[in-house]
Symmetry: C2
């Protein structure tokens, strides 16, 4: 289970609320981590019980109150150890490919429409990631050095999305052929 560590690694960068973390997952880290808000709030609760994080309540003038979590030294140590240990390669379960594998049971137009919907999503995603990259590249040397590791993961997102789109174009051609 690494939702726990995904949360810790984000809080290690910067304290934040469950809602902040969710925004991060949705808007920035979606290409490598996804979770529902219920799961995030549950984990935050548990991580606080385990002493890996702690929180302060913050009243806000214009918005509902929020719990701002930050990582504890015990949390940093836990994270450090997890990062040092080997991890199994990422498990992939992709329903779209299951569908395409059985494409002969559907009709061409349906498959192409479905593919088109997915292409839209991935195109938007790629644009977002490239925009983030442009921002990072506008930073000065010191800031870029500080963002080195997140940048590596961002590149994975970008190369991954481009490869996905290249494949989708191939897939369209084969289906139409």
């Amino acid at each position: 289970m690494s939702l726990k560590h995904a949360i810790l690694v984000m809080l290690e960068t910067e304290p934040g609320s469950g809602y902040d973390l969710m925004r991060h997952f949705r808007q920035r880290l979606g290409y490598f981590w996804n979770a529902k808000h219920q799961q995030v709030y549950q984990q935050l609760k548990q991580l606080a019980i385990d002493g890996y994080i702690e929180y302060t309540l913050e009243a806000q003038a214009d918005k509902p109150d929020k719990k701002v979590y930050s990582i504890t030294p015990a949390g940093v140590e836990e994270l450090r150890q997890w990062i040092a240990a080997p991890v199994a390669p990422n498990k992939i379960n992709d329903p779209l490919l299951v569908k395409l594998y059985g494409g002969h049971l559907s009709d061409r137009d349906n498959l192409l429409a479905e593919l088109e919907r997915h292409i839209d999503t991935h195109r938007r995603r790629l644009q977002e990631l490239e925009a983030i990259e442009q921002t990072l590249l506008s930073f000065d040397k010191a800031e870029q050095e500080a963002m080195k590791y997140p940048y590596i993961t961002l590149r994975r997102g970008i190369l991954g999305e481009r490869a996905w789109l290249d494949w989708a174009a191939e897939a369209q051609q084969i289906i139409n052929k």
Copy 2:
């Protein structure tokens, strides 16, 4: 839940046992579907109860007996409907990227060693997929046409692995820099 449909789509191509399906997942479809044997056997049981598949017991001279499952008309219909309905884009949770995101908490050698391990896995995977592709390309026109949709998913595997390796090479450079 699409493990159910991943199993149905395989049985629609060809009847097989739980063990056969597992071999498929491990050796051929690992780039788009993964499952443990316990889960596969459970699902097979449930799918049989639901009437989507049925089985015959086959005694084998040299090996333990096996249950050979095949899809029923109800199963094909269920699969057809599932394929026709839109599906949400694939959810990605990649622990390796979580690790790299927090790379500043580890040391360079550890990160590079970890990356090397993953590169080995992906390289092997790519070679296997390219070998399968060569086999498919040696088939005659009619057979290739019949394998059109599985071939599209195979291409996803190949392009995906190549992109992964390209990224890994970039990552090594950035870490070493």
